[in-house]
Every structure is written in structure tokens, then in C-alpha cells.
Symmetry: C2
Subunit: 421 residues, 2 copies
């Protein structure tokens, strides 16, 4: 009997196909044979020809390996294979069992091109970049923010006070950290209420609008309760740690259609994005987040404590900011009616890196400094001022060192941490 | 200023501490320095000494690196750091940002030891091994099952008919595949109803009890709707693809406390479990699943198409079957009142591997063969009979080849696929 054949190098993907780009390192077989096995396992196959698996079915629902270029393999999946609007189910096929098959030594899902019909089955960001800008009433510049540090340990009162000093120093956003949820020493509701009160205060005092990013990461129903609590108590933003919470819960949260910015933290992504040979690329994660509907996504800081090459981070940024991607990464993507997202750059950022970060990443970013604000020699408020001064220097095109001559907080920051030209 | 210090090699973990075992490959620093940074980032730290982060706080909430043995690092986390019962939030700390830090080239979370207070904050399996055995009315032997193949492509009628033939051939379980949910050609409700009708029929005909494992993977609310539909329509088991769905949704599903077996598929785990240097071990995944409360978990087949060394798979099996783990993996674990789970062995299994699998894994397993049933030369029913015959041979301690002399279906199976002595 002829082996099951999912190779079709003459196949031209249909507009309705979902296309995946895999990096394949085969194990004791050729790339071709490994690719055939991947296409089979990720669509309709089995390791042996079963009853009912005939040529007609393979033609209709089988994945097609249509391009092999060294280790890069493109596979087209007929749209009928998938349940529309069900992200976990889609990933069970194209990012499921195949990572553990013996025919591959390493396998990396580099990119997914979603067809229109699938795109249309998801909501995408409710607010997107424009919607977030309307809330904060800032049209053209990057947003700057901080994360309350230490990550955990403050009481609700101290947390709120910290936020107040950061906002009043000129920051747009204050964020709870990814591992702060509802611990005994800092309960969610009390923290939120106290902090939002400070946000109201500082908005009145400054005339500026502010964003408070509160972490709702939990079991799904509790997560939604916490997000509703934010909405019902004057908040404007909920954060979910999407990797540890999962795609189902994120879809559920988005489906609630709350009047909140959804801020997407990616803690844990490094488990599967960091190895260039194996796992799933951060680009793919970012596309999934945009499709489901985050408004702001952490994508890396380039100049900070976390890994993330400038080139890769910029590719991701382009993917989530633009509407049509023609030469980004490796696959094209038309986002149709799905709104663009803000890129959040965070992790080791300080005033001395801000100008360089903006030069590299453009205006549609949120630059978040944690220790880079609060470890300022004069404390959080001065750290916030230093960030704002660095932002202004950047907007006015003035060298940071020059600008620091008249701005003592910035001067102290770059004296402590240095700066990037 | 003295650098932040989370190293304390004299520290003896408290009974209430959560302990993690990491495999650390540092990047341009010593293991010690990398470990210090990991402890800091995964608990309360920042890259610089921030306001409010004092020795008192570090003592109270900081993680403690208490053991370094070559590349194996043990870190103890005070229980107060965590929100009880919130798995995603716990993982945001211990399995979050740290995977992407520049100080590590590779990092693998090998094991977690959960303290009693955390254990008590989760439900664990509702049924566990004993509960599943009660439903199927099988006391002492392994369970055998199949997965409907092709993975997707059948109509509801064909799916139900396939299940009928498999059950009537003597299998205990029939399962929908991980990427079959609610596709247009095979809608969930219609498939379920038609298949469960066949299950009722075969139970009447044979007098045996059967399990139908139906896949509810979806956005959380839809997932719960589907699980309730199963319960309300005479079903006994719901499957979730836990990696692609996520921990939040799984917790939510468990919290519904339905009268269903929860069958946990791990599609996608290979993204982060396969690299021996980086990611999270399958052992850790299995412990998390048990803690949240799966009744049956896919852990590998040893003799099939998927990776998974026998030694590793057996360590995982022991971890989810036993109540006190003293020398398993590397960390000990007392499971207190959390019930044990069934191990599901699946992926390339056929009648010729069953006896060997049972010899290796013992009686508390569910052996699932997909193509190994349905690609039998005489089809699904004969394939099911061959599996049952292989099971009987194993229970009676008779060599497969010997047993096959009087059992034609088994003979045809091992003539086709061979067998393991």
C-alpha cells in the first residue's frame, strides 16, 4: 500500500487556507518525510492507513506540504479542518502533538497566516491603539509607565501611594506586576479601590488622564469577576498573564466585551519562544493575541534585562501595529477589520534607554520602567519625572545628556544608570 | 550598596515553603549569580534596589536559593508570596519571566514541591482512579480504548458507528481526537448524541459499562456548556486539551464539579517539555494537572510514535498514582487528600505493544490505540478484538504469539505490526 501522502509541492494555497511556516529539524529521516508526518499528524492522519482515510478525504481535509526550503517548511491547512473562533482547538492541530513526534528532533512554529474567514471569526482588540489613545487623551507620542516594585510585598495603602507618586511625576500608566493578584497582604479589591482613588486625585490635580493596569490573572470566572470589579469601580484597564492563564480564558475575557483596555502580559512565553530551533515564535504568540483581542501586548524591551533581538522585536511590533503585512517575518497577513495593538516594552528600561527605544520602535509603544523609575536616587516620584524628561527630550530631539543639564531628575538617573546614544 | 541577595545556602526550607528545582545554564555569569537573579525575579525583586525593598521584606517574601549542585538549583518560596488556589498566578512567579532573562542561556523547571497549604487550596481529581473504576466497573485491570481515526473528517453518523464497532469489540473507552471539536462537518451536539446512543446500545448488548471521551476544548464558557451538555445527555467524560486551553480554563472546568470524568490531553506540551535543558518538565505539568484535578492524563506511550523515555514516563506515572513521593524525580511530595489519577498511554500503540506496556506501567493505565485499532486488516471491530485479546493474554501471562494461535484478530494485528517480547 502506498504511504499516506501529504506532500504536494505543486499545490498553490487557496485564499481560504491557513498557512503555517515550520522550522523542521528531522530525526533520522529527511526533511520531506518529517514534513509529511507533521502534515498528517496536524490534520487528519494517523501513523497507519486507517479505515475511512481515503484519497477523497485527504484532498478535502488533509494538510498540504507545499514548500520546502532547506529546513523551512510551509504547510497549508484547509479552513474546513478548524472550528471557527476556537483558538485552543485550532492550536491543538497546528501546535499540538507534532512537537513531540519522534520524526523531529526540533520543531518550531515560526508563523501562521490566518485566512479571512478565520480572522472574521475572532473579535480582535476592542479598543486598539486609537481606542487606548482616546482614553488617555494622548494623540501622537509614546506612552510611559511604571510597574509597582517590589513586585509583591506592599500593602494596598503603600501600593496606592506608590502609584500616586508615579502618576503625579508625569507617567501615563501604573501597573501591578504579573505575580501580584490577591495575596493576603495585598488583597485585590482593597488595592484596586485605594489605587483608583489616587488615580482620580492625580487626574484632578494634573488635568491629565491616567491608566491603571490591574492584574486579574486567575481561574476564568474569578478573572471575569475581577475585571467587572475594575469596570464597576472606575478603572479602565485589566491585565491578564496570557501564557500561564491560557487562550481559553483570554477568549472568554475578551468575549465579555467590557469597557476596559486589555493589557496582555506574556510571563512564561520564554519556555517555548526562546529556543530558535524549537517551540513557537513570539511573533506567532503576538498574532494570536491580536486576533483574540488584546489592546496592549508585552513584546520585549530590546535594551533591557530580557532577551529579544531588536530585529525580532521590530518584526513583532510591525505585525501588531499594521493592517497589511507583506514582507514581515516570513508569511504575509491581511488583518482585515482587526485593530492594531499597542506594543509594551518592559523589563530593565530606565530613563537613559528611553530615547533610543523610541527611535527604534516609534511612537505607538508603551515604555514601562519598574526599577528604572523607583530605584531613582530620589525615589519614585523623581524617577517618574526623569522618565517624563527623557520622553520630552526624545520628542524635542535633544540629546539626553544635553537635556539633563536643566533637568536634575534626569541627570541623576543617567548619572546612576548611564544612557544610550 | 550591597547587591540584592537571595542566596542562602544554609537555609532549610520550611514545611510551608513551595520548593522549585531548576536546571540552570547560566549566560556569561556563574550558576550562583544566575540563581540569585532567578530567585529575585521570580519572587519580589527588580534589577536594581528599589525603594521599599528592604532586608525585612526579603526575609519575609524573598525566594531563597538554598541548594546548588552543579546546574541543579533549588529555590524555596515562602507560601505568603502566592495567592492560594490560583494556579496561573503561582506560575507567573515560578514559571514566568525567568525563562527569558539574559542571565540564563537555558532554564528548565524540573519539579515543584507543593506545601500542604497550597495542596489544600486545590480540589484535585473528583473521581481519581477509584472513581473511574467505579464508573466502568472494572476493578483490577488496565483499561483499553481507541481514538476515532481519522482525527477529523467523519460525519456524526460515521463517528458514532465507528465508536459502536470499537466498543462492541471489547474496548472500554472511545475518544474523540484532540483537534475534533465542533467543525461544520461534525457538529459537537449531534456527534455526541449519536455516539452516546450507540454507547447505551452496546452497554445493553454486552452488559459492560463503557466510557465516551468527548472533547470540550473551547473558550471557557463554551467549554463548560459542552461539558454540561455531556452530563445532561447521559455522558460520563469530558476531555480538555489543557496546554492549548490553559490552566485558568481547566481550573474553571474543575470548579464546576460536574459528574464527569475529566480526561486531560496534553497536545502542545512538547513545545516546552521536549528540550532537556529548557522549559518545564512533563513531570511538573503532570503534578499541576493532578493538583487542579484531572482524572486521566496523557503521559506518553513509551513504545509509540511520540517521544518519552520509559524512565521518565514511569516517574510521571508514579507521581500521579501514589500518595507520598519520597524518591521520585528529585523532589519529594506528600499529596495529602488529593486523589491519584489514571495514566493515559497513547500515540502509536497497537495490540503488539500492549503486553509490554502493561508490564512496564502496571494496571492503573488506560492504553489507547488509534490506528492500532482501526488500521487492522479487518477494520475497527477486529482491531478492538485484537486489543482485548492482547489484554487478556497479558492478564493471563501468556506470550502474545502463543495466544494469537487461537485468536485470529490478534494474529492478524501482530502479523501486520509485529509485537514486543
Amino acid at each position: 500500500m502506498k504511504p499516506l501522502d501529504f506532500l504536494n509541492l505543486k499545490y498553490k494555497p487557496k485564499e481560504s487556507d491557513l498557512v503555517c511556516l515550520f522550522r523542521v529539524e528531522p530525526n533520522k529521516v529527511s526533511v520531506k518525510e518529517a514534513a509529511n508526518n507533521l502534515a498528517l499528524e496536524s490534520s487528519i492522519g494517523s501513523w497507519d492507513r486507517v479505515e475511512g482515510l481515503n484519497e477523497k478525504l485527504i484532498n478535502r481535509l488533509g494538510a498540504k506540504v507545499y514548500s520546502i526550503n532547506k529546513n523551512l517548511v510551509k504547510i497549508a491547512y484547509p479552513i474546513e479542518l478548524f472550528e471557527l473562533g476556537n483558538m485552543p482547538s485550532i492550536l491543538s492541530g497546528i501546535a499540538g502533538n507534532i512537537f513531540g513526534m519522534k520524526v523531529v528532533k526540533n520543531l518550531r512554529l515560526e508563523d501562521i497566516e490566518f485566512p479571512k474567514k478565520l480572522i472574521d471569526s475572532f473579535k480582535g482588540p476592542k479598543l486598539g491603539i486609537d481606542g487606548v489613545r482616546k482614553i488617555i487623551r494622548v494623540k501622537d507620542r509614546p506612552l510611559i509607565g511604571t510597574i509597582v516594585k517590589p513586585k509583591v510585598g506592599f500593602s494596598p495603602d503603600k501600593h496606592a501611594e506608590y502609584a500616586y507618586r508615579a502618576w503625579s511625576g508625569g507617567l501615563d500608566l501604573v501597573k501591578s506586576d504579573e505575580n501580584l493578584t490577591n495575596q493576603d497582604f495585598n488583597k485585590f479589591k482593597e488595592r484596586f479601590k485605594k489605587t483608583i482613588k489616587k488615580m482620580d486625585k492625580v487626574e484632578k490635580e494634573t488635568g491629565d488622564r491616567k491608566i491603571y493596569v490591574e492584574n486579574v490573572t486567575a481561574e476564568t470566572k474569578e478573572m471575569i469577576k475581577r475585571a467587572r470589579f475594575i469596570q464597576d469601580n472606575g478603572g479602565n484597564c485589566a491585565m491578564i498573564d496570557v501564557v500561564v492563564s491560557g487562550w481559553s480564558a483570554f477568549q472568554t475575557l475578551r468575549n465579555e466585551n467590557l469597557d476596559l483596555i486589555l493589557h496582555i502580559h506574556r510571563a512564561g512565553h520564554g519556555m517555548f519562544t526562546e529556543n530558535p530551533k524549537h517551540g513557537m515564535s513570539m511573533l506567532t504568540v503576538a498574532k494570536i493575541v491580536r486576533l483574540i483581542g488584546g489592546d496592549e501586548l508585552h513584546i520585549g524591551a530590546v535594551f533591557g534585562k530580557m532577551k529579544g533581538e531588536e530585529k525580532e522585536v521590530k518584526i513583532i511590533e510591525k505585525e501588531i501595529e499594521k493592517n497589511i503585512i507583506s514582507s514581515n517575518g516570513v508569511l504575509k497577513q491581511d488583518w482585515f477589520n482587526i485593530k492594531p495593538m499597542f506594543s509594551v516594552c518592559s523589563g530593565g528600561i530606565h530613563p537613559g534607554t528611553l530615547k533610543k527605544l523610541i527611535e527604534s520602535m516609534g511612537k505607538d509603544i508603551i515604555a514601562q520602567a519598574g526599577a528604572g523609575v523607583s530605584a531613582h536616587p530620589l525615589g519614585v516620584n523623581a524617577g517618574a519625572r526623569a522618565m517624563k524628561q527623557a520622553l520630552n527630550a526624545s520628542l524635542e530631539g535633544i540629546d539626553l545628556k544635553e537635556y539633563a543639564k536643566d533637568h536634575v531628575e534626569l541627570k541623576m538617573a543617567i548619572d546612576k544608570w548611564g544612557y544610550l546614544k
